[in-house]
Symmetry: C2
Subunit: 588 residues, 2 copies
C-alpha cells in the first residue's frame, strides 16, 4: 500500500507543526540569527541574573525552534523517505544543530569553572527555575579532567567508539532455514518467529544456523565488545570514578545499591519463580529436558479475535478510566487532532514510537494490525504521549523533558491496566490463557532477562577494570556459565548458546538494561495498586506524569510512592508476577 491510499484521518497531521515551508523558514532564519548572537554572551552570561536570564531566553528560543523543526522533518522523513524536499529540510536542520552545538560548547565549561558566579545568578526569583540545570552541571564538573586532557579525549572520541561502530555495521549472513525443501530467510527478526514453530527441527535449525555464524566470527565480536568495554573503563578512570558502573550511574544520580538490588532480586531472592515457570513450560511441552530453542514456543494459542480501531479505543478508554476525565481528554485530543499514524505502508519506518517536543504534540508512529498486540502497542505509546503532554503543559521548558530512566513507567503502567481490563472481559479460558502467557513472557524479558544481562555486563566491566583480558573464550564461557545458572537444571544449555551474547547490541550501551527492570517493577506496582482502588497512588502517579525532570529520577519515583531503593517494590512486583503464573496455571 502507498501512503496516499490511506484515509487522511488515519495519518498524523504535521500541518499542526508548520502550516507551510514558509513558516518553517521563519523559524529557521530566526535560529540562524539567534546562533549568531550567542558568542556575544560568552564572557558575560554569568555576570548577573539579568544577563543570565536574557541569555537563557535566547538559548531556550533557539532550542525550542530547533526541536520543533527537527520534529517536523524527522516525522515526515519517517513516513516519506523518498521525499527529497523533506530530506533536504531535514539535513538543513541537522547542520543547524551542529552550528548550535559548536557555538555553545562554552556554556557548560564556563559554568563549571565559575561555580560561585553560577550559584549567584540562580539565587534571584526569576532565575531559580534554572537551579537544577546549573546544579547538574556543577555536580558533573567535579568529574572533569583538566582542559588539556578533555581536549585530547574529545579528539580520540570517535576512535574510541570505533569498536561499536564496527559491530553495528557487521551484518553476518545466515544459512537459510530449510522447511520442506524450501529455503526461508533467516535473520534476528525472523529467528524469533522460527523459534515459535511447533516443529522442533525447524527451531533447532534456525537456532544453529544463526548462532553458528556468531560462533564462527567469535574473535571479531570479542574484539569489538572488549574494545567497547575497555572504552567504558577508560572513561571512568579519566573522569575519576571508582568504577565504570559508578560512572554510568552518575548522570541519573543513581546509587550503585539500586543496580545490585535489581540483580539480587531477579537472580537470587525471586529466582525460584523463574525456575517455576521453566518447570511449567517443561510440563506443558511434555519434555524431559528443555533446549534453549524451546524457550520461545508459545504456551497458549492466540484466539481468533479481530479488533478494529474503534474496539481498540473503547478498550483503551476503559483501561484508563481510573485516571479520570482530564487524562481521557488528552487521549481524545490525540485521536481527534490526528497525532497518530496508524497503518504501515511502503517506505514507512518500522516499529513504534511516541515523539514530540515542547511546542508540538507528541506524535505516534505505529502499524496497527487488528490484533490484541497492536492495542498494547497503541496504549503503550499513548502512555508516553500523555506523559510528554502533561510535562510540557505543567513545567517550564528547562524542566519538562523527562529522562529515559523514568520514561518507560507511563507506557507500561498503561499496558498493565489494559491487561487487567482484557482479563476481566475475556470470554473463555483460552483467551485468558493467551493474555496471561504474553504478559508472563514479557515480564520475564523485563524483570529476569535484563538483570541477567546487567550482571553479565557488570562482570565484563570488572574484569576489564582489573586488566584481565577479555578473550573470545573468557567472554563466551562466562556467558555460558551464567546462562546455565539462569535457566537451571531443566534446560540443556549447549556450547552454542555461549555465543548468544554477541547478538545483543545492548552490551555496547554502557549499563543500560537494568533501567528496563526498574521501570517494569515500578509500573507493575503502580498499576496493580491503582487497579485495586488505591486513590492516593493514583494522585501521586498523575503528579509524576506532570513532573518532567524537576528532580532526579529516583526522587520523582519516591514522590510517586514507588521508591525503587525500597525492597517492597520488588516484593510487590514479583508477587504480581507470581499471580500471573498462578492464574495462568488455573487456565490450563
Amino acid at each position: 500500500m502507498n501512503r496516499n491510499e490511506i484515509d487522511e484521518n488515519l495519518k498524523w497531521d504535521l500541518s499542526l507543526i508548520y502550516k507551510s515551508n514558509e513558516d518553517f523558514y521563519l523559524d529557521f532564519n530566526k535560529v540562524k540569527e539567534n546562533i549568531s548572537l550567542i558568542p556575544s554572551f560568552k564572557e558575560k552570561f554569568l555576570d548577573n541574573a539579568e544577563t543570565f536570564l536574557e541569555f537563557m531566553k535566547l538559548i531556550e528560543d533557539t532550542c525550542r525552534k530547533l526541536e520543533k523543526m527537527y520534529q517536523y522533518t524527522h516525522l515526515a522523513v519517517d513516513v516519506e523517505p523518498e521525499n527529497n524536499e523533506i530530506q533536504n529540510l531535514y539535513s538543513q536542520v541537522l547542520s543547524l544543530y551542529d552550528d548550535y552545538s559548536q557555538n555553545t560548547v562554552f556554556i557548560d565549561l564556563t559554568i563549571s569553572k565559575n561555580p560561585e558566579k553560577a550559584k549567584e545568578v540562580i539565587s534571584s526569583d526569576n532565575t531559580k527555575i534554572y537551579s537544577k540545570y546549573i546544579n547538574d552541571i556543577l555536580r558533573s564538573s567535579s568529574h572533569l579532567a583538566s582542559d588539556e586532557v578533555e581536549d585530547v579525549i574529545a579528539k580520540a572520541d570517535s576512535i574510541l567508539n570505533s569498536p561499536y561502530e564496527t559491530y553495528s555495521v557487521f551484518r553476518p549472513e545466515f544459512k537459510p532455514v530449510n522447511i520442506n525443501g524450501k529455503e526461508e530467510f533467516l535473520n534476528q527478526e525472523t529467528l524469533s518467529e522460527f523459534l515459535k514453530n511447533p516443529d522442533e527441527n525447524i527451531r533447532k535449525q534456525a537456532y544453529e544456523n544463526l548462532y553458528g555464524e556468531y560462533k564462527k566470527f567469535g574473535n571479531v565480536f570479542a574484539s569489538t565488545l572488549s574494545g567497547t568495554i575497555k572504552r567504558d573503563v577508560f572513561y571512568s578512570k579519566v573522569h575519576k570514578f571508582n568504577s565504570p558502573l559508578e560512572a554510568s550511574l552518575f548522570s541519573d544520580n543513581v546509587p550503585k545499591e539500586l543496580f545490585y538490588k535489581v540483580i539480587d532480586m531477579a537472580l537470587n531472592k525471586y529466582h525460584y519463580l523463574l525456575l517455576d515457570y521453566v518447570s511449567l513450560r517443561k510440563k506443558i511441552m511434555n519434555k524431559d529436558k528443555l533446549e534453549i530453542y524451546d524457550m520461545n514456543v508459545p504456551l497458549a494459542k492466540e484466539p481468533d479475535i479481530k479488533y478494529s480501531l474503534n474496539d481498540a479505543f473503547d478498550l483503551i478508554f476503559e483501561a484508563t478510566k481510573c485516571f479520570g476525565e482530564d487524562y481521557q481528554k488528552i487521549l481524545e485530543k490525540a485521536r481527534n487532532e490526528r497525532w497518530i499514524d496508524y497503518y504501515t505502508h511502503t517506505g514507512k519506518r518500522q516499529g513504534a514510537y511516541s515523539s514530540g517536543c515542547y511546542d508540538t504534540n507528541p506524535y505516534i508512529l505505529m502499524s496497527y494490525l487488528d490484533d490484541v498486540k497492536s492495542i498494547f502497542t497503541l496504549i503503550h505509546e499513548l502512555g508516553h504521549s500523555v506523559h510528554s503532554y502533561y510535562s510540557s503543559h505543567n513545567q517550564p521548558y528547562i524542566l519538562y523533558d523527562y529522562k529515559i530512566f523514568v520514561a518507560e513507567v507511563a507506557s507500561t503502567v498503561n499496558e498493565n491496566l489494559l491487561m487487567y481490563t482484557l482479563l476481566e472481559k475475556a470470554k473463555s479460558k483460552e483467551e485468558k490463557a493467551y493474555l496471561l502467557y504474553n504478559q508472563i513472557f514479557e515480564n520475564i524479558t523485563l524483570i529476569y532477562r535484563q538483570p541477567f544481562f546487567a550482571n553479565f555486563e557488570n562482570i565484563l566491566h570488572e574484569k576489564a577494570s582489573n586488566n584481565e583480558g577479555l578473550s573470545n573464550h573468557t567472554i563466551t564461557s562466562l556467558y555460558g556459565d551464567l546462562t546455565k545458572e539462569y535457566w537451571g537444571s531443566d534446560v540443556n544449555v549447549t556450547e552454542l548458546s555461549n555465543y548468544f551474547c554477541y547478538a545483543v547490541p545492548h552490551f555496547y550501551y554502557n549499563y543500560y538494561v537494568y533501567k528496563y527492570t526498574v521501570g517494569q517493577c515500578v509500573s507493575s506496582v503502580i498499576a496493580s495498586r491503582i487497579y485495586n482502588g488505591n486513590t492516593e497512588q493514583k494522585e501521586k502517579y498523575l503528579n509524576f506524569l506532570k513532573s518532567g525532570c524537576t528532580k532526579d529520577p529516583i526522587e520523582l519515583l519516591k514522590d510517586a510512592g514507588v521508591n525503587p531503593l525500597d525492597d517492597i517494590i520488588y516484593d510487590e512486583a514479583f508477587k504480581n508476577f507470581e499471580k500471573l503464573l498462578n492464574d495462568f496455571k488455573e487456565c490450563l
Copy 2:
C-alpha cells in the same frame, strides 16, 4: 615428515646458544637479579659519567641475556611448537621481558626531562658511545605531550589499536573455486596460485569469490581501516606533528621529501615503464584488454631444473665472490656451524627469516625445495645474517642493531647478484626468460606497487586529517580511481577491484610500505655497480654492513654511496628495471 627424521646437519644447532637448560637458568637468574637492582639507579643514573656507565653496563648485561634467552626459546618453539618444556621456558622469558619493561619506563622519561645532565654524562670518553642513544631520546622528547596527557594516551592505547585487532582476527570465508566439478579451497594464499592458472575462468572465479567477500563486508573493513587511520592522525596531533606522515617518518629521521620522491618516481617519471610492461603482457597473452585477474599469469615457463643444496651453495659462493674472502668465510661458518634449518616438516613454522642477537649467531629458518626460488630465499636470508654478523662483530652492543629501514638492503643486494650469476650461466633462452620474468615481477611489486599503496594510504591520512569522513564508498572509490591510473588503459579495472584495498594488512602499518621501494632501489643500484666492477662501491657497501645503527638510516646509505634523496639512485634503479624488460623481450 617429522623433525627427528631429518639429518642433524640440515637442522640448526641451538646448543651453541645454551648447552643445557642449566646454562639457560644461570642467565635467567642473573637477569632477575639485575632487574631487582635497576630501581636503585632511578634517582642517580644521570648524576655523573661513572654512575651512568655502571647503569648502562647493568642494562646492557640484562638486555643481552634477555635477547639470548629469547632467541634460544623462540627459535626452538618455531620448529617444535608441541614441546611443552620449551613453550614453558619461552613464556618465562616473555614475562621476564615484561618485568624488565615495567622497571625501566623511567629511563627515557628521566633523560627527556634532564637534557643538560644527559648531555653531560655522555661527554666523557668512556661514555661517548652512548651519544646516539641519548640524542635520539632527546630528539623525541620535543614531541612528548605533558605527563598527564601521555598517561591518558597510554591508558587508551589498547582501545585505539582495537580497530586493527578486529581487522586482524576477521577471517572471511570464501566460496571455494570450482574446477571441473571439484571444489578447491580459496584463501589469500591459494588465490595467488589460482591467479596463475592458464584458464581464465578459474582466475575470474577465484578473483570474484575472494573480493566479492571483501565487498560484502565493505562497511566492516571501512570501519576498521578508518579507525586505524584516525588513530594515526590522533597520535600525530597529540604529539605535535604537522601530519601523520611526518609523525611516521620521525623515528627514522627521514624527510617527507623522500616519501614524495618515491611516489613521484614510480607513478610519474618512470610510470611509462610500467605501462610498457602492461602492453607487453597484453601482447604475450594475446588479449585486446587485460583483466585485473590476468596480471599474475606467468609470462615464462619454469624450466625443469633441480638444484641440490650443494648446487645452491656453489651458486651462492659464485654470486658473492665479489665481496671477497672475509664475507665468504662467514657464509662457510653459517653452513658448517649449522646456523640454518633447511627443510620443512610437521609443525615447523612456515616462511623464512634470519634471526639472532648480539651474543648468538644469526640463525636462518626456511624450507628448501630444490628449485631456483629456494636459492633466492637462502641467499636473501644469508644477506641478513651476514649484515647481523658484521654489525655485532664491529659495533658495541648499543650501536649494533640496524633499523628495518636499511634491513632489506643486504638481502636484496644478494638476490640481485644471484640473478646476474644465474643469467650468465643460463643454458637456454627459456631459462633466461624465466629468471628475467621473475625478477621483473618482483621488481614491479617493490618499485611500483608499494609507491601506489603509499600514495593511497597518504591520501586516506590526509582526508582524515581534514576531518573528511572515510566511508566505505570514499575509501573504495578512491582505491578504484588510483588503480585505473596505475594500470592505464590496457587494463579493465572493474568495481570489484576497488575492494582489493581491504585485503592489504599493510594499510594498518602507518606508512610502512614506501621503505620496501627505497630498499629495492638502493639494492638494485649497489648490486649493478658492484657487478660492473665498481670497487669503491663494494668497499662502501661492506662498510655499511658493519655499521649497525651508528647513524640514522639515510646517513648510513649516504656513506654507502647510495643517497636515497638523490634522483640518480632512482634513475639508475629504473634503468636497471628497463634493462630487465628489454632483455626479457629479447628472449621471447
